[in-house]
């Protein structure tokens, strides 16, 4: 791979991390990769900004709610000073914006590898049930709600899940707990919310990459071994379960998915029943497990974004474990100042620019 510059978002490596640092670590893990990586952050305090072994520079970008024009103008400004070859957005809330400006980005020479808007919307939490019905995939009963009373009128059995449209989910055991969860989610993410049937079983997550024609470039399934308070994976291990791969391939084929995705499946191994819980339209935060197990999906994405042919991965290492850890990163006041005042922190200048 020639020396290229890759921009990655989602470098908020907090207790509930974005996928950005995992993507960057995967790219750095590749023996072939010798390029430049810049982080695109929404917050000066995103830890990825200060990880010098991850990013050569970091730039603040406007929040998705500020709209397409402001986002595009911000990317153009960054691109002028630090030319980007490939941009990998990695957060649910920003993806639709990047899908909408991908043609503009391509005209600037910035390559992306994103799903079509239609496919992106079909797999959204509030329309997932219809997609599953059309494709004979088991899915928990899910309802979209706009008020607390809706939960009462649904008359569903507890426990159940209350979910935000993009992030966050709470398992609740009573109407009182449901009303608390409703308040929290509503304040944080707004309406509508989703109410989902609770499925007993074991959860498996699959990181995968689709080529846009319906083919799967790679897929690595993982079982969570330890969880945070928010039920996010703190440790996980690759498993060998063909049914998980089959369902993932079926989804990618049905959506003609282009780009990375994370499939969440609840499985009752004994009865061989597999329920699709969610399709996340991006790499998961734990995506570094994939190259560790032999499928460097972020690297494959970069190659495909640049128009190169990539052969599908046929296998991966079973029993490969990841364990996350937390670590203090040191930064100087001038680093924070750079980010807050200038909106950028350059650890290493791009080629052709003076230090």
């Amino acid at each position: 791979m020639k020396e290229i510059c890759i921009a990655v978002t989602g470098i908020n490596a907090t207790e509930n991390p974005g996928p950005g640092c995992g993507i960057i670590r995967s790219l750095r893990y590749s023996h072939d990769f010798k390029g430049r990586i810049v982080g695109l952050a929404y917050d000066a305090m995103d830890p990825g900004n200060f990880l010098r072994d991850h990013v050569d520079a970091s730039y603040l970008i406007p929040y998705p709610s500020q709209g397409l024009e402001i986002l595009l103008s911000s990317i153009k400004e960054i691109h002028r000073n630090d030319p980007i070859d490939v941009l990998i957005p990695s957060l649910d809330a920003e993806l639709l914006n990047f899908i909408k400006i991908q043609d503009e980005l391509a005209r600037l020479g910035i390559h992306t590898f994103l799903p079509k808007e239609e496919g992106f919307k079909i797999r959204a939490k509030n329309s997932l049930a219809d997609f599953c019905k059309e494709n004979a995939i088991h899915v928990p009963v899910t309802h979209c709600i706009n008020s607390l009373e809706d939960i009462y009128h649904l008359n569903m059995n507890y426990p159940l899940y209350i979910k935000g449209l993009f992030y966050d989910a709470y398992m609740v055991n009573s109407y009182i707990e449901a009303s608390n969860a409703f308040g929290l989610l509503c304040a944080r993410w707004g309406l509508p919310l989703l109410v989902q049937e609770y499925i007993r079983g074991e959860e498996f997550d699959i990181v995968a990459l689709g080529d846009g024609t319906g083919e799967t470039i790679g897929a690595v399934p993982m079982k969570k071994m330890s969880l945070t308070d928010k039920k996010k994976a703190w440790a996980g291990i690759t498993v060998d379960n063909p049914a998980l791969i089959e369902m993932t391939k079926k989804i990618i084929k049905a959506l003609k998915w282009k780009g990375p995705l994370e499939v969440e499946i609840m499985a009752d191994i004994e009865s061989q029943k597999y329920y699709l819980i969610e399709i996340n339209p991006r790499f998961p935060a734990w995506c570094f497990l994939a190259p560790g197990a032999g499928q460097n999906l972020p690297e494959a994405l970069v190659k495909m974004a640049l128009g190169k042919d990539v052969a599908s991965f046929e296998e991966y290492q079973i029993g490969k474990l990841f364990v996350r850890y937390s670590c203090e990163v040191l930064a100087d006041l001038k680093d924070i100042e750079q980010l807050v005042v200038k909106g950028k922190l350059v650890h290493k200048e791009p080629k052709g620019k003076k230090e």
């Binding site: 498993v239 379960n241 191994i269 079973i318 029993g319």
Partner: protein, 85 residues
Amino acid sequence: MSFARLKQIAISDSGFIFNPLNGDMFQANSTGLFLLEQCKQQKSIEDILSAFVEEFDVEKIEAEKDFDLFLKQIAIYGIIEKKQE
């Protein structure tokens, strides 16, 4: 009980067990490891019991009781299947 699933289960010499189907991990003691190895060879219950009695010098009735409990436990863990082949 069916021991067919044991062909897929990774069992190390130290008794560490990994079920690649669902990622579950267990640790067996030397007795458990001996029994698992016997089961993995798809031997009959009668042959496993005879080997168990001989290896650990226990009464057959005690061996039967312990082996039955052991099988029920590993079936709960999904290491073997309850159904017949």
